[in-house]
């Protein structure tokens, strides 16, 4: 309970600042219009004029909320103007990329833990791969997958999302697979366990908490990848494409609603993955951490 009050205060403060910002930033336009008409608007007229512009510099929170509601609930989900439709396209790419990232990250981690050569060879490149801005690579990934026969944009988007999401999984899995200490490893040696058995019965189970802890970061990264992947690839559907369209047509409401739809999608994904994490840790007899 004593956490709710501060959080609510902060959130309310953010909304207050937002309203003030949209008043001060949109005021110039209202004053301009009034000057042209030869009027001097009173303060209440100014406030009314700044809160409901169709192309505001900073839309007021309730405008964004209305636009979001309109895009999510009032449009048929098959409509090209429905945020659910675009969100679903992005979600698909995110989930494929997430799956790709998990498989790639776990496979690489196992390779790196089992072989010292792989550790020395691949680990530096895994780090370097994350310092390369993936947006620069994105158009090339599209061209290459296209040349290899992929017809939809889903494949390159999933690859870009996977490229960003494999790294947190890799790092956590390496940490997890090497987490059993010398005592535990020695015990298994006294049992005469083979390398295989050590891996399946000790290392893999020991790595699970690390694995689940990395998933939340990975899914957030995957969503960023899916959105970024829509920008330079000429996509026309998806939340990233929606932002691009809003920017090209100079329509701020489309950009703001797409941004908040992306934020809502991220929150839902993190919430679901967090739930899976809790269920899994309980099933493995873990304490709530």
């Amino acid at each position: 309970m004593n956490r709710v009050v501060p959080i609510l205060t902060v959130v309310l403060a953010i909304f207050a600042i937002w309203y003030v910002a949209s008043f001060t930033m949109n005021r110039a336009w209202v004053m301009d219009q009034a000057a042209r008409a030869g009027e001097t608007p009173s303060l209440s007229e100014q406030i009314a004029g700044t809160m409901n512009q169709s192309r505001p510099v900073v839309p007021a929170p309730h405008q964004v909320a209305v636009e979001l509601y309109d895009g999510i609930f009032d449009k048929a989900v098959t409509s090209k103007r429905s945020l659910v439709y675009h969100g679903f396209i992005t979600l698909q790419a995110t989930l494929w990329g997430f799956a790709l990232g998990i498989i790639g990250g776990v496979a690489l981690a196992i390779l790196i833990v089992l072989s010292r050569t792989a550790d020395l060879t691949l680990m530096p490149w895994a780090i370097i791969s994350q310092t390369i801005p993936v947006v620069a690579l994105a158009p090339m990934i599209v061209i290459l997958t296209n040349a290899l026969g992929a017809e939809s944009l889903m494949v390159p988007k999933a690859i870009i999302a996977g490229y960003l999401s494999f790294f947190p999984v890799l790092v956590s899995m390496v940490k997890g697979l090497t987490s059993p200490d010398a005592m535990q490893l020695d015990l298994l040696r006294t049992y005469g366990a083979t390398k295989n058995q050590v891996f399946w019965k000790l290392r893999l189970p020991a790595s699970m908490p690390f694995f689940f802890a990395s998933l939340k970061i990975a899914v957030a990264a995957s969503l960023v990848g899916a959105i970024v992947g829509e920008l330079p690839t000429g996509a026309i559907s998806g939340l990233g494409a929606r932002m691009l369209i809003g920017s090209q047509f100079g329509n701020p409401m489309i950009m703001w609603s797409a941004l908040f739809a992306a934020a809502i999608l991220a929150a839902m994904l993190i919430w679901v993955v967090g739930g899976i994490e809790r269920v899994a840790s309980r099933a493995m007899g873990g304490q709530s951490a």
Partner: protein, 258 residues
């Protein structure tokens, strides 16, 4: 030790060279048209032939967009963390919110920033500021909690003021966390600066060059830009890691077995 260190350089370097050689061979062996995948030698040639353009793009995107934005955003993040740290109430309220925001796809503010600040580098720097602010804030706040009771009590017995405790104990103790944040930011900064260019840019910049050259099928030039971006990203990360090693030599993670 020396052999170990040599292997540490030799293996990754060898792997990189091997990939480049295989790339070169397969481009020639399968007759892959340069409009799909140019050979590394062609890319090298493109780089050598247009160093001027590449340098101008690099200046525009990396120095003006990413670096300015990263420095401003990081300073703002640390300053905000120090300010918030004084109040328990703010910390309790802001930390969950900041943690949540840090996980959101903040790149989405790029079109809004381009609308606000125009096509030049200011909008790119603004996107980077917003992107790096929250990771820095969260990491610095976590770092400022990293001292234990005993250490803080010792400072109190010295009758150190809040500022003194901050400067002599808590900020140094927070450095590993701050550098962790900076490392995350160094990769975010380049992504932010390039993404913002897809929403509008002057006629230079890496994102601009990549999107126009893709349209003109100048794929070798695109790969040249990617190479520059890759080296910039890695060097930026490397510089942060180097400064970290200098400044947090006392931390267990920096110890080398000497």
């Amino acid at each position: 030790m020396i052999i170990d260190r040599a292997l540490r350089v030799f293996y990754p370097l060898g792997f990189g060279i091997l990939v480049l050689i295989l790339w070169e061979i397969s481009v020639h062996a399968f007759n892959i048209p340069p409009a799909i995948l140019p050979a590394p030698t062609d890319i090298g040639e493109a780089m050598a032939n247009s160093t001027g353009t590449l340098f101008a793009d690099w200046l525009q995107t990396v120095v003006k967009g990413a670096l300015t934005g990263m420095i401003m955003g990081a300073l703002a993040g640390v300053a905000a963390a120090i300010a918030i740290d004084r109040s328990d109430f703010l910390k309790k309220g802001l930390l969950p919110v900041a943690n949540f925001v840090a996980a959101l796809p903040i790149v989405g503010v790029a079109p809004i920033m381009v609308m606000w600040f125009g096509f030049d580098w200011h909008s790119k720097a603004a996107v980077v500021v917003v992107m790096v602010f929250f990771p820095m804030l969260v990491n610095t706040l976590a770092g400022l909690q990293a001292t234990d009771r005993m250490q803080r009590d010792l400072m109190r017995t010295y009758s150190a003021s809040h500022g003194q405790t901050l400067a002599k104990l808590r900020l140094p103790a927070a450095l590993p966390f701050i550098f962790n944040g900076l490392k995350i930011c160094s990769t975010l900064a380049l992504i932010g600066a390039i993404v913002a260019e897809y929403f509008g840019s002057p006629t230079q910049g890496m994102g601009f060059r990549i999107s126009t050259e893709v349209g003109r099928l100048g794929i070798d030039m695109v790969w040249a830009e990617i190479a520059v971006a890759a080296v910039s990203g890695t060097v930026l990360y490397g510089i942060v890691a180097l400064i970290e090693r200098r400044m947090t030599f006392w931390h267990p993670s920096q110890r080398t077995g000497r």
